[in-house]
Assembly symmetry: C2
């Protein structure tokens, strides 16, 4: 029952004929844009740099800034701009006047390019263009371009702009003279005024993790908009953005449409993206809903505009690509779904949005097949592109609707970049059809599904095997966009609640050793629920643990590295099998929200998998220079008993990382968790033993740092110490490790990771959408309780006002709440002592005259919970305690720098050197920061937390640490002593392999 | 005037015809030996293991030992012995009785194989075989097989055996009935009794470095032997051994022959090895001598039997190969030199020693050409080989002399291995002719010079360039066998003497800072000559140096790594240009003998070249896992001011290694040399500045460790400390570095190399020739003043008596003397304080009842010199202070172990873990030692000192050091902090290089 291929080609040829040899204006080489695009298509380096320059251009405040960026992007060695640009740039950098002229010309050309795709800055300026389109017998849907909304204020402003748009365009468009082609479909009149809205702009807090709450909130935003549209006789289309929001968008759309106030209203639409692998299920769901509700909404079928983003993001997360990797698959899906939609014409309306003549022809043929009249569906195209195709469709008698963006230059440029990429892509039908001159036959050929990468199945639960090891890959985070994933996590939380309150005792040689003293660890989200009773190990118990570790050392040392590595792979497998249980316990014990608890567990798994491989690599040793007759092998040997003193803030990952690094290199371990996170430590400990770590190799001593920690560190039998924690304790350990006691076998070596006072610099040309979100994420994730967290943001004069305003607004919108609540963005801090300390610091800052802006802590949270409002403090002096002392909480100091050099200086001007960040679109400044922001982990144009094993080896310098990098290639060296064996293989002048005469 | 190729072939074919199709008995597969050899020729793995087993076999005392070694060599997985061996071995390992049977059979077969090549255990048992040879009309020359002589006693015993041989054979051979073919040549009667002697056996102290003394001593050994031979009417041939002794052997031969007592005597001979590239010069020299002295001695022309040894040794030393790399070149040289010798028949006698029919035929044709009668030269072959060739020559009327070894099984087996290798080599003419069945044409083809690797020219003096870097190679040691090399070094010593006595001041920012106090450093060889006045820097000077280093740090840090690496290459070049001057100063300042001073300088050059390359490798950083849209680079950054606190025992190498490692990684350096070696440190310091190290990057502060060293270590501005020295000081530094002072930028990191108490285990099956020499070298080189030196030798019961006897004898023969004297094997210790301490320790040991055996300190050395006799102390308890405390002098404790496990336990049972050694020929025990001798540097079957940069990364564990490896791939990591930069490269969903739809 397929659509006739013959008919598709006839329609396609007919469309070609009706184009009358016209070419899209964009490609016209008589114009600047045509020449630039032609060059970009030829030269990928220029294309990247040009489009990046276009991206940053609107944020550049002065001609000097423009000139500098032109220099950095387009005139640096290796970039070869076309003549039309080189001519214009001859003056740039020559002097103020010439620069002004040159940059003025570039600016004019770029703005000209942008206006090709944008119908106007607002509805008033757009109206004439919309009227002109109508003159060409083309309908429209307007879209409001905007920056990302990072706060409620911005969301509300955006909604207000939509209301204004509807109000402003309703009357003028009503006044237009009728055009039957545009004003009605096969069922009757349709609105002339058609707007497209993006859900993310209406609600800055959409999050699939908090699915129900998000749907409810989004629907609440949509209903009034729909009501107003209905009242004005307008049509509203809900656009589709990245896949992470897809389910949520459909759900919000359905929920809003089902609002009683909108009963019977059909002038709304949603989008299906054919490039998604599961697009068929989306169509199925819409049809089902349409059948159930008898609402004939419009479905706009598109290929999808976020292909790069989706593939990159999936690769970064280690998720299967949600989109087809080959365009041909998306084309084929588009055709199949267009037929499917048209076959259900009874229940819905179809809009075919494509610039691909073949795809449109197929849809038209499918319409014929399913008896859908020509006015029973419409063709949609973007403004400023594909003019010949639009014209041909109009000439064939189709209703063509033009997607017409309205907006300012700033968001306009971002939109421009996207359109430029689309037009210059190798796979662009427009490029193939109008630039590369492909044959009609090729352009109308049926798409083939050439490459189908299978959807990823369930994560394998079997442990890796050292004898058939695959390359290291990171454990993918949970995709909480998946309802089943959310449900499983919620179930794990419930399950955890049934198991709280157990006593955590020291365990030496598998034997629990009860302690005379214990302390109750309570859930910081309520300050009441006892998570565990932590037995405080005595000095005697600590000594016993060290003695046991010492006694087993020789046996563990003699265990082959492969066997030790296998234990780590087995630990990883067991953690994978209990992932949600581990994460759920962290949610409860230290108040870590879902995503971050999940990431903590993933990191722990990563450490096991990574260090297992590293240990095998290390075990192979180095072959040194080997002259004939001599073998020279450098290898490594374990050192002895290792004290692992772990923090509570990454209660699983850091603990597991330090412990498994020590174990896999053949050292035995005495594990001292933080008193705040002993329960998760005990769970890890039990997993290790179950995974076959010998009882003698790993011992657990919960307790107080100043008691049991200090005791273990000072023990002469302990030769390695792996510590992560505060500067004060770190320095004390470093000092103690310097002391070599009588009878001590080896010098004590210390892996010492301490604090940070990490800054992000927001450059004058930073992308503020990203900078605001990145800073908020870095500063307030897990309530700022990460050594990597951003506690200082350094701003330059140019964007200071805009940035700080948006930052404050975004911070104020953060949801503070219990860690277990999926809506929570900022959980409580770890305990009431921490809360009191932080609140005191804020009060002191206020007393010093500093201004603070904080998100409200809702009254619904328990008063006994350790809640601290996420707070931005502005106008902080670089020497202020808030700018120098680590706070370890949700407090962010805003520091103003005079210029970029000043910003770098301020960033480096604390005793710490852990992480730092830069948001900048200046290649030269990025390079400068690479050289001068001398911290352990520098992040450019991204948040500064969330280091990933194997990607971002983590650790700081100066007072942040001793210079080790967890999850990096040198880390295991800290736990071993190198060892060289040289063997003379010559005997009687004879060496194996050598020949003799 | 070439020899006619036509005639060569005619003679060759005639020889073939006269062989009558006979085959050498060795290859006869009816016999065990034939089957084993056939298998060895097919299977190189079996060949290696079989020949190694043959090598160790005679040292195995019991059938159980034999069975164990058979198991380890021949029955381990991967070795596939032939049926004849597998059959015999079926019983091995099954039980005592079966083992005894099986090993008895193997032993019988091996002994049978050996007796094929050896005419008898002594002259009496050899006589019947010699008579039998004479019955076959073959003359003989007897050679006494022996172990290596490691002491005067052994040399004397060897000489006595020769005397006995001459005495014992003279009368019986005189009684033989005459045979004109054998008893006369063209000039008249020649001796029936013909012996071959090896110079190294007659004199254990031969050393080309002490050329004149060695020649004199060797000639003094030869003259009485020659006199006795003359008196008995015998002939003595001086055999040629490894090339290192060649010049010395010729010189001793000439000197002895010119002794007035031997005037007119001609019945002596020397050897020319045609495989040497300079063999033509040897022939030239002999002819010149013969013409001058009118002594027609015999020249035995051979190809050469040490090809493997010479090529391996040259490769190990980085010297050009002294031998032709292609056998064809050696064959061609043999022919050319045979013609040359025969052309000078008037002046000498020629013996053509070869088993190659082509080579012999060529010589015969040359004899015809130069009119040398058939009895005017002789053919020499080895006993037990090439029987058909010998027979054919006899049948052709030539005098054939058989080289007939006499000796015991122990040296016999070593000889057997050499012969087996020779017979089974791919390039063996015998194998080609009698096993592989090559055609007569091929076997008689003229040799082609196919491959001539050029002799190495002078070492390049230009510095390497970072932009065209060649792979790292070690700086080759001086070849003191070369007279010009010796002369240059002697000249450098003289030159040094003219420059002694200068004052060494602190230098900060190139400005010398005189000190109010100074101490005189005197030459330890005489205790009087002032080498330098060492200004003792004050605390204020130390502070100034640190401040200057701190001030320049930012600039040096910002200097590109390539530029810093270039400085090291330039320093290396300058040290290369001043090599002998540097070494000579060390001879004077710390009493380091020539070879060891030269090695010290080479090591310093190596460190520069190695770390320059390592720094560039490090500078490239690591690309970590990089998902699309993200770049992840791990790199390294300098830490700051580095204190380099260097020892006097490797006054150049260790100082230079630590300093250049710190510099090349971008740290600035305060250099504190040992007070005993400030002059060499100053010379290095000046070279660095001349090589372009900026004045701010490197500062010199000579002085006392407890004053200036301690001051610098404790300075909060100093963040790296590189120390090599004593345990006590090392621990104090480690402790001080643990203290983090207010204002200190970073935690202090310490590279800490301390002492050792290093043991060599001599296994029951060790090759004692090598073990004795290796232990002596390791214990007494540079008077034991190396942290790597052997101070304990652990012996097993089986070979204890033999080993200790030979060790004591070898030690007693060591020449103690001034470092500048080339004869000196054991120089003084570093100063009188050290001498007194060591002598006291020896006296205390004696007082505890320990027995000591020492070399005499000659009366000719100055009483004020710091001489300590090299001493072996026997019967030392593992807990005795001599077995536990580092002495740092020429004292060696002999410890007796019960068995191998006990030996391992004793070896590990000190607080140190620096070096260790094992002499063993048991593959299983070598493996066990690899696993259980957990020291920094383990050496197997070789001395335990002399680690070479890039080959033997050096450094110890436990109380020997913090686990760093100088000259290894991880070393530079100690001087830097790691640093990671992650950049998000995605903008607007677009990533460079990714495609978009």
């Amino acid at each position: 029952m397929a659509v006739s291929e013959q008919r598709v080609r006839e329609i396609g040829e007919d469309l070609f004929a009706r184009m009358k040899g016209e070419t899209p204006g964009l490609f016209d080489k008589a114009w600047w844009s045509g020449q630039v695009l032609e060059w970009a298509m030829r030269d990928p380096v220029f294309k990247t740099e040009m489009f990046r320059f276009v991206d940053v251009f609107p944020s550049l405040a002065t001609p000097e800034e423009v000139a500098r960026h032109i220099q950095e992007y387009l005139l640096r060695p290796g970039v070869n701009p076309p003549t039309v640009i080189r001519m214009a740039l001859k003056g740039a950098g020559l002097g103020a006047f010439a620069t002004r002229i040159a940059t003025g010309q570039i600016a004019k050309n770029l703005e000209g390019m942008a206006t090709r795709f944008i119908v106007g800055a607002d509805h008033a300026s757009a109206l004439p263009t919309l009227a002109e389109l109508r003159g060409q017998r083309q309908a429209f849907t307007v879209d409001l371009l905007g920056e990302a909304t990072v706060s409620d204020a911005e969301s509300e402003a955006y909604a207000a702009r939509y209301r204004a748009l509807l109000d402003g365009l309703a009357a003028p468009t009503q006044a237009w003279k009728p055009d039957a082609l545009l004003d009605a479909d096969d069922r009757g009149p349709i609105p002339r005024l058609n707007v497209s809205v993006k859900l993310s702009a209406l609600d800055c807090r959409l999050d699939a993790l908090a699915f129900d709450a998000s749907v409810e909130a989004a629907a609440a935003r949509l209903v009034p908009l729909f009501q107003r549209a209905r009242a004005l006789g307008a049509f509203v289309n809900l656009d589709m953005e990245q896949r992470a929001l897809k389910e949520l968008t459909y759900a919000a759309f359905f929920r809003a449409m089902e609002d009683p106030s909108l009963a019977g209203w059909e002038h709304a639409g949603v989008v299906v993206q054919a490039y998604l692998r599961d697009a068929d299920r989306d169509v199925e769901a819409i049809i089902k809903w349409a059948k159930r509700t008898q609402r004939r909404v419009t479905v706009r079928l598109v290929k999808g505009a976020y292909w790069d983003f989706e593939t990159v993001r999936a690769a970064q997360e280690g998720w299967p690509s949600p989109v087809w990797l080959d365009k041909s698959d998306a084309d084929a899906t588009f055709e199949a779904l267009s037929a499917e939609l048209l076959a259900h014409h009874k229940h819905l309306r179809t809009a075919l949005a494509s610039h691909n003549v073949r795809s449109l022809a197929y849809g038209m043929a499918a319409a014929e097949k399913y008896g859908v009249p020509t006015n029973g569906f419409e063709v949609q195209c973007l403004y400023g592109m594909a003019e010949p195709i639009k014209a041909a469709c109009v000439r064939r008698g189709h209703r063509v609707r033009v997607y017409a963006p309205i907006g300012d230059l700033l968001p306009g440029m971002a939109y421009l970049v996207r359109r430029l990429l689309e037009n210059t892509s190798n796979q662009s039908w427009l490029r193939m059809g109008f630039v590369d001159g492909a044959s009609h036959e090729a352009l109308l050929a049926a798409p083939k599904r050439v490459q189908r990468s299978p959807m990823l199945g369930p994560v394998p639960v079997e442990a890796g095997r050292v004898d058939r090891l695959t390359p290291f890959v990171n454990e993918p985070l949970r995709d909480f966009g998946d309802a089943a994933v959310r449900a499983a996590f919620a179930a794990a939380l419930k399950q955890t609640d049934t198991r709280l309150g157990r006593t955590i005792d020291a365990v030496v040689d598998v034997k629990p050793i009860p302690s005379p003293r214990a302390l109750d660890r309570v859930d910081p989200s309520d300050g009441r629920t006892v998570i565990a009773r932590v037995g405080l190990a005595t000095s005697e118990t600590a000594d016993r643990a060290v003695a046991a570790a010492q006694a087993f050392f020789a046996a563990w040392r003699a265990t082959p590295a492969a066997e030790r590595a296998q234990r780590l792979l087995d630990i990883a497998a067991r953690m994978r099998a209990q992932r949600d249980a581990l994460s759920a316990l962290m949610v409860r014990e230290v108040g870590k929200p879902w995503r971050e608890a999940d990431a903590d567990t993933c990191e722990a798994i990563d450490f096991c998998e990574f260090y297992a491989r590293e240990a095998l690599r290390m075990d192979a040793g180095h072959r040194m220079v080997e002259p004939p007759g001599e073998t020279n092998v450098l290898s490594y040997m374990p050192r002895g008993v290792t004290a692992v003193i772990a923090p509570w803030n990454f209660p699983l990952a850091i603990l597991a990382g330090m412990a498994t690094a020590a174990l896999v290199t053949g050292n035995t371990v005495v594990l001292k968790p933080a008193e705040q996170s002993s329960a998760i430590a005990a769970m890890f400990f039990e997993i290790c033993l179950k995974a076959g770590v010998p009882p003698g190799a790993l011992h657990l001593v919960p307790g107080l740092g100043e008691e049991v920690g200090a005791r273990v560190v000072a023990d002469p039998r302990v030769v390695n110490i792996a510590f992560t924690g505060s500067l004060e304790v770190g320095l004390a350990i470093w000092r103690q490790a310097g002391v070599t006691l009588p009878g001590q076998a080896s010098l004590k070596r210390v892996v010492c990771e301490m604090g940070g006072k990490n800054a992000i610099i927001v450059d004058s040309d930073a992308d503020l959408d990203e900078a605001v979100l990145g800073v908020v994420h870095s500063a307030f994730g897990f309530a700022g309780q990460k050594c990597s967290a951003c506690s200082r943001v350094i701003v330059l004069p140019e964007q200071r006002a805009a940035f700080v305003e948006r930052l404050v607004a975004a911070t104020r919108g953060l949801v503070v709440g219990p860690a277990a609540d999926p809506r929570t963005r900022v959980p409580p801090v770890v305990d009431s002592a921490s809360r009191d300390r932080l609140l005191a610091a804020l009060a002191a800052a206020e007393a010093r005259g500093l201004k603070r802006f904080a998100a409200p802590v809702p009254h619904s949270v328990p008063a006994s919970g350790a809640y601290v409002p996420p707070t931005v403090v502005t106008g902080v002096d670089p020497c202020d305690p808030l700018a120098q002392d680590e706070q370890f909480g949700p407090i962010l100091a805003v520091i103003e720098a005079r210029d970029f050099d000043d910003a770098l200086r301020i960033a480096m001007d604390t005793p710490y050197a852990l992480t730092a960040g830069l948001y900048s679109r200046s290649p030269a400044r990025v390079e400068q920061a690479r050289a001068e922001l001398r911290v352990g982990n520098l992040y450019i144009n991204r948040p500064i937390t969330g280091a990933i094993v194997g990607r971002h080896p983590f650790g700081g310098a100066r007072m942040s640490g001793g210079g080790t990098k967890a999850g990096g290639p040198d880390y295991l060296l800290s736990f071993v002593d190198p060892r060289h064996v040289s063997e003379n293989t010559m005997r009687r002048g004879f060496t194996p392999q050598a020949s003799s005469t």
